[in-house]
């Protein structure tokens, strides 16, 4: 019995310690992040209490090495720690960041960047034009190593430091979206990256204590606890942020993240789940933001060319433009937004989201096909598809029976698929929803072309180039980005043209024309654009920058301040 008593005592002690410890370690962000007497932090005795912003998110950077980074979380950190030659402003336009001025030669083959004065690395050293040139040249010469940069430097020949504050980049051909491209080329501290002998060595470098030139420095990165502590860079060339520290904490499930916001464990998050947004809006002292973003969800229609290898496996009726039109007219996109996104989005039309570049690239002349089941029935009737006894239309041997697949890792697509299948059944099309493992679905769409309809989504880049490239026939190869298999030589040519037109308005015309072609041929039916859902504790912080860049962007955190 002695042992039993001992155990009971231990259990009790654990309970007491747990509850006691819990209250003692409640971080009241914005007031006093320092622990109580048990863990005194000496620096706090001399300076004022630091202002700490606690951010909750659902991921964690796989690496902080820009050569081999694939997760958005890594890029969030790059934006804080590193600087680029250009960046986007809140209005969606490109402006210089490291570069004070930038210009392009007549022939479009030479870009000249004049750097700002007095830019310093986090370690106090000066950032030089030679170092910038070293970066660009490393990306160009070692593409097997700098994997993630390789897509942004195609067409680059070399970089050169003309003088102490000027860098020149030579190109093979004119590049229209140069500003956007260089905005992803994070300028790293060369001594950290010079010594790697092989591409593999370079990629294995996780760079978890990066030296950069950005507005925040990483002081602690714990990959096991998944906590990142950033400190304000007082010497930042763009001025000093009004907060002292930013702490990122990873949550593995969104319910816990929302709960943490509710009880004040975190001060902000830009990953509020659709399903919880309405609840978060009712939280005390929490402000919510629902803003149009760059994500889109589409219905992919198998458009692979008949001579594709392997031969497409699909319902042949999908090759008929009238069938596509009928499908489009049978989808109530507003309903999808209301039900699936709980109103936090917009019905989709084009592959270019409306907010890209402040709306500049989105073809607003295109009028979407209206939701009209009668019209859908009429189109199919006229095209010769007759309803059978079971309510399913057929033309000769071809019955309108389709597979409607979606990646199994999505929580929203099952609902989307059900709703679409219901509408389609009203026009005599039988669509059978089916969840498929995402990797299998990649292979089914490209290169196998073995599907009918697939629901999937994209997160668009700030520049139209990438989304447009997805529809080129060049991308319909194994490892390429095309999943529809759309192939149109006119479109392909326009794609190449828009890459090399320097004049923005000229380029816009081509981009708009490409959207017309896609709308006409319908390899995709764009279902909706989802909103970015963000929330913050309004009792603790204020003055977030509410722009398409998001409240967690470095521009926003530069101006956030505690509530007085």
């Amino acid at each position: 019995m002695k042992k039993t008593l001992w155990f009971v005592f231990l259990l009790f002690a654990l309970l007491v310690a747990a509850c006691g410890g819990g209250t003692a370690t409640q971080p009241a962000a914005g007031e006093n992040p320092a622990p109580t007497g048990e863990n005194p932090t000496p620096t706090l005795e001399v300076s004022a209490e630091p202002i700490v912003l606690h951010v909750g998110w659902l991921g964690f950077p796989d690496t902080l090495n820009p050569a081999y980074a694939f997760l958005t979380e890594s890029y969030t950190m790059f934006d804080f720690v590193y600087s680029t030659l250009t960046t986007q402003n809140p209005q969606g336009e490109y402006v210089g960041l490291l570069a004070e001025e930038r210009s392009v030669s007549e022939d479009g083959l030479t870009w000249t960047y004049k750097l700002r004065q007095g830019i310093k690395w986090h370690n106090g050293e000066d950032l030089t034009s030679e170092q910038v040139a070293w970066n660009i040249n490393a990306f160009i010469q070692n593409q097997d190593g700098w994997v993630t940069n390789s897509g942004y430097i195609t067409g680059f020949v070399e970089a050169r430091a003309v003088d102490a504050s000027t860098v020149e980049i030579k190109l093979e051909y004119p590049i229209s979206n140069m500003d956007y491209r260089v905005s992803f080329l994070y300028i790293v501290y060369p001594p950290d990256f010079e010594s790697f002998a092989t591409p593999e060595d370079l990629q294995n470098f996780t760079n978890f204590s990066p030296v950069g030139s950005g507005p925040f420095k990483i002081t602690t990165l714990d990959k096991d606890q998944r906590i990142i502590i950033l400190e304000t860079n007082a010497d930042y060339f763009g001025g000093r942020a009004k907060i002292d520290q930013v702490i990122y904490q990873t949550f593995d499930n969104s319910d816990a993240l929302v709960q943490a916001l509710k009880v004040g464990d975190i001060d902000m998050t830009n990953e509020v789940p659709d399903s919880a947004f309405a609840a978060v809006q009712t939280f005390e002292n929490v402000e919510t933001i629902s803003r149009q973003g760059l994500s889109l969800t589409e219905l992919i229609i198998n458009s692979a060319p008949a001579d594709h290898d392997p031969a497409p496996t699909r319902n042949p009726a999908l090759e008929d433009p009238q069938v596509r039109l009928a499908i489009a007219s049978a989808i109530n996109k507003q309903d999808l937004v209301d039900v699936v996104l709980q109103g936090n989005g917009k019905p989709g039309v084009n592959i270019i989201p409306p907010v890209m570049g402040g709306g500049f690239w989105y073809n607003s002349n295109i009028q979407d096909v209206a939701f009209n089941l009668d019209e859908g029935n009429r189109i199919l009737e006229e095209a010769g598809y007759v309803k059978g006894a079971d309510g399913i239309r057929a033309k000769g041997e071809v019955r309108l029976e389709l597979r409607l697949q979606y990646p199994s890792d999505s929580s929203t697509y099952p609902r989307v698929a059900d709703m679409i299948a219901n509408w389609l059944s009203e026009i005599g099309v039988k669509a059978t929803p089916e969840a498929v493992d995402p990797d299998s679905l990649v292979v089914a769409t490209n290169p196998n072309a073995d599907y009918d309809l697939v629901i999937w989504g994209w997160g668009a880049d700030p520049d139209p180039d990438f989304m447009l490239s997805v529809m080129t026939s060049e991308q319909y190869v194994e490892g390429g980005w095309s999943d529809s298999g759309y192939s149109n030589s006119e479109y392909d040519q326009l794609y190449l043209d828009q890459q090399q037109v320097i004049d923005r308005v000229e380029r816009q015309k081509i981009v708009w024309k490409m959207q017309e072609l896609l709308f006409r041929d319908k390899p995709y039916i764009i279902l909706y654009y989802g909103n970015d859902l963000e929330a913050y504790r309004s009792d603790k912080f204020t003055n977030f920058l509410d722009s398409p860049l998001g409240i967690a962007s470095f521009q926003s955190l530069m101006q956030v301040e505690p509530v007085k």
Binding site: A24, T25, P33, I247, D252, G479
Partner: protein, 325 residues
């Protein structure tokens, strides 16, 4: 057979099992659909086909699965090298060890609590059969056993953070990151409390039910009657004669659970953003990170086999008949 011979035989058998598991896992991951390179780089990154191919070569994926990939993996393992994770770019062994400690801490505490409470509760319930205590314990155990892990975790998280001010994630608070765990014990306790409680409640039911039925069976044996006839007190009967025999099924089930909770803690780890092995397995699978997957499943296999061996050895102490056979 002596205990030593038995041990050696078990060990050899375990090695054979391990090899079979390794071989099956090797094949299993490779027949999964999809391309690891694509899984690692994700869907939205613009990487040319040539660069993807060079990654494929770097990972050794350009070579045939059998014999090249199989034997190079085996050779690597024979040298004690589990390889480098493709997605995390760190030695697999290093990753596994870091996460293993966290998981062991959680599982260890949770299992100790649930074994202790389950055994005590089951013992009393069986002993005081058909009393209010028995019915109460039985009802609680059945409900606890049937409760979905994820749901219980979320409910406890919401209640604990709102009413007790307990933390919502992780193992320690941000300001304690990087400090040795023993220096921040109160904070650690606060973080461990809810996940441990969840785990304990879930396993408690199972242990209690098994202990109860086991003790009931033992109590009906003749030697218990003999013991009572000798004039021993209730406690002596229960402690000296009943408990040891009734523990046998518990040892089996604990051993089995220990092996599987290493992976089974995944739900709890996910709810409480607790960085352990469960979460790692999930990442490895979604990224099709073969070296990490193989390493993780090797660890899993080893832990199940070890736990079984442990049970076998414990049996030789608890039940002399095992040794004799």
């Amino acid at each position: 057979m002596s205990r030593r011979d038995l041990l050696i035989r078990k060990l050899l058998l375990s090695l054979v099992t391990m090899f079979v598991v390794v071989a099956i896992n090797f094949v299993l991951f490779r027949i999964l659909p999809g391309d690891p390179v694509r899984a690692v780089i994700g869907r939205n990154v613009k990487i040319s086909a040539e660069v993807q191919q060079s990654l494929r070569e770097q990972f050794g994926l350009d070579k045939p699965v059998f014999p090249d990939q199989f034997f190079s993996t085996l050779g690597q393992w024979a040298r004690g090298n589990l390889g480098v994770s493709w997605s995390l770019r760190k030695p697999v062994a290093e990753i596994l060890v870091a996460k293993l400690w966290n998981t062991l801490l959680l599982i260890g505490l949770g299992q100790i609590l649930s074994i202790f409470l389950g055994v005590v509760l089951g013992l009393f319930a069986g002993w005081k059969r058909k009393t209010a205590l028995d019915v109460g314990a039985l009802t609680f155990s059945l409900i606890a056993w049937a409760t979905p892990t994820f749901w219980l975790g979320i409910i406890l998280l919401a209640a604990g953070s709102s009413w007790l001010g307990l933390p919502t994630r992780g193992i320690v608070s941000p300001e304690n990151v990087g400090k040795p765990l023993y220096t921040v014990i109160p904070d650690l306790m606060a973080h461990l409390f809810l996940p441990t409680l969840t785990l304990s409640i879930l396993y408690l039911g199972e242990y209690m039910l098994i202990m109860r039925s086991s003790i009931l069976e033992v109590l009906s044996e003749d030697y218990i009657l003999t013991a009572k006839a000798k004039g021993m007190s209730h406690w002596q009967v229960l402690w000296k004669h009943a408990l040891k025999n009734a523990m046998l099924p518990i040892v089996t089930i604990v051993a089995l659970n220990l092996g599987f909770t290493v992976s089974g803690a995944i739900y709890i780890e996910t709810v409480f953003s607790y960085d352990g092995l469960g979460k790692l397995f999930q990442t490895a699978l979604t990224k099709q990170d073969y070296p990490l997957l193989q390493g993780a499943f090797l660890l899993l296999a080893v832990s199940v086999i070890l736990a079984n061996m442990l049970a076998d050895i414990l049996y030789t102490y608890l039940d002399p008949r095992v040794k004799a056979s």
